[in-house]
């Protein structure tokens, strides 16, 4: 796994995979895809990085503490976004009713709170899948 060609190729491709994942997350409201798929893509880019460069390198990029925080507060973020409606005096998870500017339909910012919620969910999914991969690979035989 310490292959030169593999490492060079990965260093070229992985950043694009990562950015593509972020793209899928953020465009969840206007095009196919969404936070879950995007989150998995982001997570997979980290998994590919750690299989190619070694688990230790991957761990150095994403320490366990960071993963724990993103994992639980990514979900909490969803709930907080839901509370926005509640604070404005309209039902939980309300979007347009809560007075959020929805923007022009079809553009990136047309989802109101949805891209924000998606960002939290995407981060959570990515960190969960990476955590699982690390726990599987680090468990002694």
């Amino acid at each position: 796994m310490r292959d030169f060609i593999l490492k060079r190729a990965a260093s070229l491709i992985l950043p694009f995979i990562f950015v593509y994942g972020i793209y899928v997350i953020l465009h969840g409201a206007v095009s196919p895809g969404g936070s879950f798929a995007g989150g998995i893509i982001v997570g997979l880019s980290f998994i590919a990085f750690s299989t190619i460069y070694g688990i230790e390198q991957g761990r150095a990029k994403l320490p366990e503490k960071v993963l724990v925080w993103t994992e639980s507060y990514g979900t909490l973020w969803y709930g907080l976004m839901g509370l926005v409606g509640l604070v404005r005096g309209v039902p939980f998870l309300a979007n347009k009713l809560a007075g959020v500017d929805l923007g022009t339909p079809g553009t990136l910012s047309s989802g109101g709170l949805i891209p924000l919620i998606g960002l939290g969910v995407g981060i959570r999914v990515a960190s969960t899948i990476v955590t699982l991969f690390f726990t599987i690979m680090e468990e002694e035989r």
């Binding site: 196919p32 879950f36 998995i40 339909p105 079809g106 899948i129 726990t135 599987i136």
Partner: protein, 133 residues
Amino acid sequence: MSGLLTKVLINYPYLVAVLLFTIGTFTVLTHPNLFKKLLGINIMESAIFLMFVASGNIRGGVAPIRGTTNAEAVYINPLPSALMLTGIVVSVSVTAFALALIMRLYKAYGTTDLRRIAARRKEVISDDHLDQG
């Protein structure tokens, strides 16, 4: 061709869904290997998803995405596919959790075969109570 057969052949996605569900359930219930059981669960769940999505699909319809379709297009019902998105999330989490359990079982028993696990159960566990392993 008889009426029933025509109906079945027109609705072939449901037929495939039933077939896949049967295969998946059979794998889950009869295969002794934990991994194969997990694969069976995935097959089973995607069969249900297939049934749901087929129920929302219309022949010649298009997905209701803004900006990609013309005005007179027939839209399919997007609700079942949106629901099945949640279904896929659930099935992924089930798979992930089961994988973690498989790792633990392999660490304890040194095998992923249920028959061998049953055979080794006696050696691995002493009859002691609060038994941290």
